[in-house]
Each structure stands twice: as C-alpha cells, then as structure tokens.
C-alpha cells in the first residue's frame, strides 16, 4: 500500500506550463516585432523580457498546481499530524463529476436485528459521489441521521474542503432536525420521560464522503472522513484488485472502538475539530470501496492475512450476505451493521 504521507506529482503540470509560456513568448514577440519599427529593432529586449516572464509563470504554476495523493487538510485549529502540502483551492465549477458505475451497494443489519434497525447507510450516485455513514449504536435515532448524511451527500455534495463540508454538515443538521420534528409530531413521541430526554440528545454517526472529478490534470478523487468509516482506492491488476491507498487508515488495527463522530447538533457541528480530507490522482476504471468500520476491519484483516475479499465485496448482493454470515459464524467479525459500497470510474 502507498504511504499516506507520501507526496507525488508536480512534474507534468510544470512542463506543460513551461512549454505554454515559451509558445506565448515567441508568438507575442513576433506579433509585436511585425507591428512596430522600433520594436523590430529592439526585438532582443522583448524576447528577453518574455523569457523572464515565462520562467516566472512556470515557477508560479509549479508551486500552486501540484497534484497530491495524500491527506491535504485538517480543519482550522486542528493539530497538524501529517504533512499538509499546498494545494490549489477546489473550485467546484471548474471540474466535472465523473460518471460512476455502482458495482455493489450492500448494507446488512446486525444479526438478529431487522432491516429497520440498521443504523448504517450507504449509497452511490451516478455522477461522481458516494458515501457511507454509521450511526452510533448507542446514540438516539442514529440510523435516521446516518441516512440523512448519505442522502444529502448524493443530493448536494459540497466541495471537499473543511470549510465547505462544515457548512454542508450544518445544512444536514437543519434538514435532520426538521425531519425529526415532523416525525415526532406524526407519531406523538415525547409523551414519556425517556422520549423527552432522548429527544434532546443529538444523533451521531461516522461519515465518509467520496467525490470523483475530472480536472484539467485528469481524474482526481477526494474524500472527507469523520471517524472510522473507510474508503479504499483499488485498481484492478492481473492478479485481482490491488490497494492503491486507503483513507483515513490502511491497517485493520486502526479501526477504533471510540471513533470521532459527526453530531446532528448544530452547536457541536460548528466545532468540527478533526475533519480530514484527502485528494489523489486516479485512472479510468479505478475502483473505490467505501465501508463502515466492521467491514473495513474485516476486509483489511483479510488482506493482511493474504486472503483478500475484494472480489466478494465488489460483487455485493447474495455473495456479500453469505460471506458476512460465514464470518459471523466464524466470529471473524463482531455483530455489527455491515455496509459496503463499491464504485468504478467510467472510462
């Protein structure tokens, strides 16, 4: 697997800028020399100035247009624990969401629980977005909050920057509050002491949102993570899927039992101390696997043991159900909601 802290890219954009700068300089010099006798006589001054300008432009582009394949940001105030290279701001309007094929989208409740009791949510949109969320089991109404987050990511995906995602999370909290109030009015909840108490508590969920776009530099994937929901960037090789990188972790031992969570309470959401984003280059036909914690732990442990389960996860459906059932019997997974969404970038 790749090192999340490893920098890559930068050379190709610099070369493009140098060539373009040179062309502009030559063309500009020729035009000016043709239009003025004085300038025709001093053509070498113009050429020298043009070359200097081109070099300056090249340096500027090289500094700001660097492509990265690793963690790029943490929200303001967070302690920087990883290299944070300078990255060109994401301008949603200058890039195009890439069509995604959904290879698998599976979500199973805990053993012994009904589908309505599933606190996980996961889905992919046809254009460049996918998300999973894991409602904290010990939190009130967490499944509804997880579903709200995933639905809103598909409906109105923000740019993947801490600021934009924070604003988006506040919109989600408002949407969820309205929905919860509507439900409370419809079913008359609030009449008992525990309904009144629990109703004042925020819902919590881990979240992983993916966005795949085409930029002037090619395909780029970006993701935001809160907690231990995971995205793995996969690429098909002759021997099967290979892991290009994982975010926000790459080892099964890193899925924690007490993850950071996104709260439905606006006051808590405003602080967002640990919002992390990632950005990396991609290729057509690349695959992303989004998973809630127990699937993530299971898949990474299987890969670490040399018995990867990428194919069954990418197949989904009955194959996924059988594999989860077998893993539960073998006690290689704990009894948790299991959600996995696998998407592939179109060529």
């Amino acid at each position: 697997m790749s090192d999340l802290g490893k920098a890559s890219g930068g050379t190709v954009p610099s070369m493009v800028a140098l060539v373009m700068g040179g062309v502009v300089t030559i063309v500009g010099t020729v035009i000016l020399a043709q239009s003025s006798d004085t300038l025709r006589e001093e053509w070498y001054v113009l050429a020298a100035a043009g070359i200097v300008a081109a070099l300056l432009a090249t340096l500027l582009v090289a500094a700001t247009g660097r492509r990265t394949a690793h963690v790029v940001s943490a929200s303001p105030g967070a302690a920087a624990t990883e290299p944070v290279p300078f990255v060109a701001p994401t301008a949603a309007g200058s890039e195009v969401l890439v069509p995604l094929s959904t290879l698998a989208s599976s979500s199973l409740p805990k053993e012994g629980a009904s589908a309505e009791e599933n606190d996980d949510a996961g889905a992919a949109g046809p254009l460049g977005v996918a998300a999973v969320a894991d409602g904290a089991s010990s939190s009130f109404d967490a499944g509804a909050w997880a579903r709200t987050l995933v639905r809103r990511w598909l409906e109105a995906p923000p740019a993947v920057t801490p600021t934009a995602v924070a604003a988006w999370a506040l919109e989600c909290a408002a949407s969820y509050a309205t929905e919860r109030a509507t439900r409370a009015g419809a079913d008359g909840s609030g009449s008992s002491w525990w309904q009144a108490e629990a109703g004042q508590k925020a819902a919590h969920a881990t979240f992983l949102g993916l966005r795949v776009v085409r930029t002037s530099d090619g395909l780029v994937w970006r993701a935001v993570a809160v907690g231990d929901a995971l995205v793995l960037h996969l690429r098909r090789a002759a021997t099967g899927f290979q892991v290009v990188s994982g975010f926000p972790y790459e080892a099964s031992s890193a899925a924690s039992g007490a993850p950071l969570l996104l709260a439905s309470d606006a006051a808590e959401t405003r602080s967002l101390p640990s919002l992390r984003t990632v950005e990396g280059p991609a290729e057509p036909e690349d695959v992303w696997l989004l998973a809630t914690d127990e699937v993530a732990r299971w898949a990474l442990a299987a890969d670490e043991a040399g018995e990867p389960i990428w194919e069954v996860l990418a197949t989904g459906g009955k194959a996924f159900e059988r594999a989860v059932s077998d893993a539960r019997v073998a006690r290689s997974v704990v009894n948790d909601d299991m959600t996995c969404v696998v998407v592939r970038a179109s060529a």
Binding site: K110, E111, G112, A113, E117, D119, D134, G135, A136, S137, S138, S139, F140, D141, G143, A144, R180, R183, A184, D187, S189, G190, S192, W193, W194, Q195, A196, E197, A198, G199, Q200, K201, A202, H204, T206, V226, S256, G257, A258, P259, L260, L261, L262, A263, D265, E268, T269, S271, L272, P273, S274, L275, D293, V334, N335, D336
Partner: protein, 276 residues
C-alpha cells in the same frame, strides 16, 4: 481481549448493585450537606437513567432490554439480624432483575430539575435508607449467586458487573473473600467485574477509577480499592476516548464520586463520547 462483547438484545448485560444501608450512611458525605445514603441513591438513579437512555434506539420504540439491573440493600434489622432487601428497585414478577425496558416504565416518581437547556426529567427509582449494621458479605453472596445464574444462562455474553457501595467495614466477615469468589465467575468474554464505591465523611479528594489510593486517608476505602477488579482494557480505552483520564492499572473503584460515567464505558455499539 476480554470484555469486548457488544451489549444488545441477544447479549444483555447484568448489573447488580449491592448498597450499604447501615446506620452510618445517614452521616453527611464529606464536603456536602447530603447524607451518604442520599448520595448513593442519587448515584443509582443517575446510573439507571443513563442505562435506560443508552437503551433507547428511536423515538417510536420503548427502551430495549439491553441491561438487567438488580439493586439489593444490606443492613441489619431491629434484632441485629443481617438483612438483604430487594425492595429498593421494582422486582420483576419472575423474581429476576428488571430490564431497562421495565425501569423506563416504572420509576417511583419523576422529579423535574432546572437545567441550562430547560427543565430535565429526573426519574427516581431508589430512595435513601439507613439503619442497622453492615452485612456486606451476605450481600456479596447474594450478588454472587445472581451473577452465577447469569453466567450459566449467558455463557457468551458480557460478564456480569457487581457494584458494591459502602462507607465502612463489613460486620459479618472479610468481604474480599466474597469479591474474589465473584471475580472467579466468567463467561467466554471474561471474568465478572466487581466495582466498589467508597463513601466517606472524611474530607479527601474524590477519585474515579484510580490506579492507586496512596494518601486517601480512609482505611475502609483503601480496602475497598484492593477488593476491586482491575478495569479491563476496553473500558480504559473507552474512558480515555471520551476524555476521562484513566491510567493503566486503574481499578474498578470510585471514592465519593458519581459512577454514572460507568454507563458510558459499556459497549452498546459505537460510543458517542467523542463527537465532532
């Protein structure tokens, strides 16, 4: 690793609270105007409140039976005979402990307390009581029998938790023997945990899950500390993850401190301690 079993309907957890109701519990708690008996009642009511709310999944469904809780009080009667009462909490018709579903439906009363965000409901299940001696061993024997039955019926579940709350020395023997017997009961997920909550009228710094009691200045409390189980690693991890500093080697012991946070350490799925 032990003590990792998630608590849910298939794997509910048992908590037995053994509560000292001896005469000395009527004395005021150190640094407070309320009695130790009242403090204990508050602790139990707070713990039950947290456990019930941790069992609420959505507004349309009553709290789930994730936890079964029994509260037994111990003291002596007028003739000095040791008594273990189960009258503190409502006892289910089959004689077993009440579930969080049943506690939610059956508080003795609901007090309303003003709070920053408006009035909050404070259900009361347990009232203070204080008279007679301290037959701690008898109470621990009772708690141990309940734990033994539970372990037999739930061999793969989360191990039982026995919480002993007292301010003094047992009047019927050495309770450490009984604590060790309880700690010997185990499910596949680990040994039964014995918590001890010391209450004192001696002024001393409150302590929650300390790794030592050097300088506590209360010999009874120090004995309770020695009788307490080491906190299992998942609980320490959960506590630290929620911003509660618990050091390696911490014991399941609290001194003049509210143990409602214990409810947050129990694994009911993804913890909500650290939200963003």
């Amino acid at each position: 690793m032990s003590h990792t079993q998630r608590v849910d309907r298939s794997n509910p957890a048992l908590i037995v609270l053994a509560v000292d109701q001896s005469e000395s519990m009527s004395d005021p708690l150190a640094g407070s105007t309320i009695s130790k008996a009242q403090a204990v009642a508050d602790h139990i009511n707070n713990l039950l409140y947290e456990l019930v709310l941790r069992s609420v999944k959505n507004p349309r469904e009553e709290p789930r039976p994730y936890f079964f809780v029994d509260v037994v009080g111990y003291s002596t009667d007028d003739s000095g005979q040791p008594v273990v009462r189960r009258e503190l909490a409502p006892v289910s018709p089959d004689g077993g402990p009440f579930s969080t579903t049943q506690y939610a439906a059956r508080p003795l009363r609901i007090d309303s307390q003003p709070g920053a965000g408006g009035a909050t409901n404070r259900p009361v299940w347990v009232e203070p009581r204080a008279s007679g001696g301290t037959p701690m061993c008898l109470a621990l024997d009772h708690a141990g029998r309940m734990a033994a039955d539970w372990v037999r019926e739930h061999p793969r579940g989360y191990p039982p938790i026995v919480i002993n709350m007292s301010d003094g020395e047992a009047t019927d023997g050495d309770p450490s023997v009984w604590c060790r017997r309880i700690q010997g009961l185990a499910t596949e997920d680990g040994h039964t945990l014995v918590f001890n909550i010391g209450l004192s009228d001696h002024p001393a710094q409150p302590a929650l899950f300390p790794s030592s009691v050097t300088g506590l200045g209360d010999p009874y409390a120090e004995r309770l500390f020695e009788m307490s189980s080491p906190l299992p690693a998942p609980m320490i991890q959960s506590a630290n993850g929620q911003g509660i500093a618990v050091a390696p080697g911490a014991r399941a012991f609290a001194f003049n401190a509210d143990i409602r946070t214990l409810a947050l350490f129990l694994n009911v799925g993804t913890s909500i301690g650290r939200a963003v």
